[in-house]
Amino acid sequence: MQEFLEILGSAALYAAAVRLLVPLLFAAIGEIFAERAGLVNVGLEAMMLMGAFGGVLGAVDTGSAVLGLIIGVACGVTVAAIQAAIAINLGGNQIVSGIALNIAVLGLTSFLALTIWRNGNVPPVPGFGILDLPALASIPFLGTVLFRQTVFVYVAIIAVPVAWWAMTRTTWGLRLRACGEDPRAVDSLGIPVLGLRWQTMLIAGALAGLGGVFISLADVMTFSNDISAGRGFIALAVVIIARWSPVKAVFAALLFGGLEALALRLQTTNLHLPTDLLLALPYVATLLVYAGVVGRTVAPAALGRSYTRA
């Protein structure tokens, strides 16, 4: 039991939780933009995986982590553009196209990795190292958890209030939310619904790509098949638990990332808890929170419906 409390009180656990929540948070924030504008983007996983792949490809080819990041984000945006074209312009079923993209990108990245890096021999990747923030890093506990991390963590910390502000305090955000509730009303005011939806989808692609780049350039520092390992799907759950709020998304992602980090650490204690139960913890807790704490969730009224002028 003491061991358990020691783990719960260790800064290392929360630092790990932060690392595990960052990709979820980026993807979830992007998804919130898209869903608030009325788009269901099940292809989040594809955008993350493509971002992770593009990041490594770019970083290896150019020798620069920053260029790798830009290329990775661009890859995420490219996948988002396909989804946007299908969902927004062609009026296709958004869930079907998202699933199709997930399958296609999983195959595509496996294939490309195999052909470009023969037999998966990915060369050493110039990645992002730990960047201690002066002064802040020396704060006891909190410094280790939040400020001895890679630059992605700091960007995530800034991204949350920026996303909240953009969505709730700007005209653009108001219009975007209106697109998700009643696109016809938005259109009747002469505001381009399709254009706004395109913007949010590209933002979702960029942020999911950024989450993928974090995994492959700042966390694992290489590419292996299916490296996003379903995080895009978890991010979709995060969005619902967070009730489409970027601020609440932090807590939903923390719940998941924290329990994932905890499950790995609890296995090393003498408590002898069943491994499978521990590994299921994040999923079980997510379900419980969804069923109990969150209460009734009201999705944007026009979510998943394509808009065509009558």
């Binding site: 290392a12 595990l20 292996s224 098949n225 299916d226 390992a229 790995l264 296995q267």
Partner: protein, 349 residues
């Protein structure tokens, strides 16, 4: 995945079609036989299909299965495969293969249950489950089992010698019996040379999630572990990366993984499943199939072993050699590969 399935089925159908023209395929078999040395004269062209659970370039388990299949192909077999087969697809993929191929290989013990279920439906098909220590129920199923606890024991010897903190870590994909047995053998090997050594084992619940593998290695390092061993395929890449980032040593699994992180990977436990699959194919081509049995291959066959040791005193190599001899002579008892299987058995249906 779907696209891959279509391609695989298409190839399967092609293979089926060409089997009706034995004259043509026989010629190819002989052409290949001429170029390969260890080919039996009686060998005929067999059709082999393989279901692989993960990607074929994982530098570990799945890649070896694929390589084994390629070696069968080089020996004249007509081959087809499907990689990244998810658990719900096991049955469908194996059925498709069983209709069109003479030999169907499930690459990993996770295929055992489905194979046993399908075997009576396809009595003409020879099923092989690679890396499965449990004796099959049906006479058209053969299990191949590299005696990997022997090599895990040797890897443990290296770790026991290399550790300074006397704390060792193990990261596994899933808590499969075969993995648990190897973790136990690794610990036994380490304790044989270093009685003070202790070991902590973490399972990821994934053979894919490299980020989680990295986090597991990082957390083990934080708890004082200075040598981490993995049996996690693709996720093991993350384990090695985490070890490198934390400045601790790592021991790879499957193939020699030294190149992944030359300053970190001090040795790799070699489990050459490819060689086992290749010889199983050659045996079938020559008319030998041990249906209903488990084919084991250990240190004596060279299927399992240890890679060269890097960045460590050369005395460790001598210690490993002495333990290798002891295992072969039977004077050291290594936990059995079936040692982690509960008496009731997961497959006693």
């Amino acid at each position: 995945m779907t696209a891959a399935a279509i391609v695989a089925v298409a190839i399967g159908v092609t293979a089926c079609g060409s089997s009706s023209k034995p004259a043509v395929t026989k010629t190819t078999a002989h052409q290949h036989a001429a170029t390969t040395t260890s080919q039996s004269k009686a060998a005929r062209a067999i059709s082999v299909a393989m279901a692989i659970p993960g990607p074929i370039d994982d530098k570990s388990f799945d890649e070896m299965g694929y390589e084994g299949l390629q070696e069968c192909k080089a020996n004249g077999a007509r081959t087809t495969y499907k990689a990244e087969v998810a658990t719900p697809e096991f049955s469908r993929v194996l059925q498709t293969f069983a209709r069109s191929s003479e030999v169907v290989i499930g690459d990993g013990e996770e295929f055992a249950e489905v194979t046993e279920k399908l075997a009576p439906e396809f009595p003409q098909t020879k099923f092989i489950v690679a890396a499965d220590p449990i004796k099959p129920h049906h006479s058209n199923v053969e299990a191949l089992e590299p005696n990997s606890t022997q090599s895990a024991y040797l890897a443990g010897v290296v770790a026991g010698e290399a550790t300074k903190t006397n704390k060792l870590g193990g990261v596994g994909g899933f808590e499969f019996p075969v993995l648990r047995a190897q973790m136990q053998a690794f610990e036994a090997g380490a304790k044989a040379v270093n009685p003070k050594a202790t070991m902590k084992v973490v399972y990821l619940g994934s053979f894919e999630d490299a980020a989680k593998g990295r986090e597991a290695a990082t957390s083990l390092a934080a708890s004082g572990v200075d040598v981490v061993y993995h049996i996690a395929d693709n996720a093991g890449v993350g384990v090695i990366d985490g070890a490198q980032a934390s400045g601790i040593k790592a021991i790879g699994w499957g193939k020699n993984q030294h190149a992944l992180a030359p300053n970190t990977v001090i040795a790799s436990q070699i489990v050459n499943l490819a060689a086992m699959i290749k010889s199983a194919c050659s045996a079938i081509a020559a008319g030998k199939f041990e249906g209903g049995g488990v084919v084991m291959a250990g240190l004596e066959s060279g299927v399992v072993g240890l890679s060269p040791i890097y960045n460590e005193p050369s005395s460790i190599q001598a210690t490993v050699e002495s333990y290798r001899k002891k295992i072969l002579a039977g004077s050291v008892s290594v936990p059995s590969i079936g040692g982690g299987i509960p008496a009731s058995g997961p497959k006693s249906d």
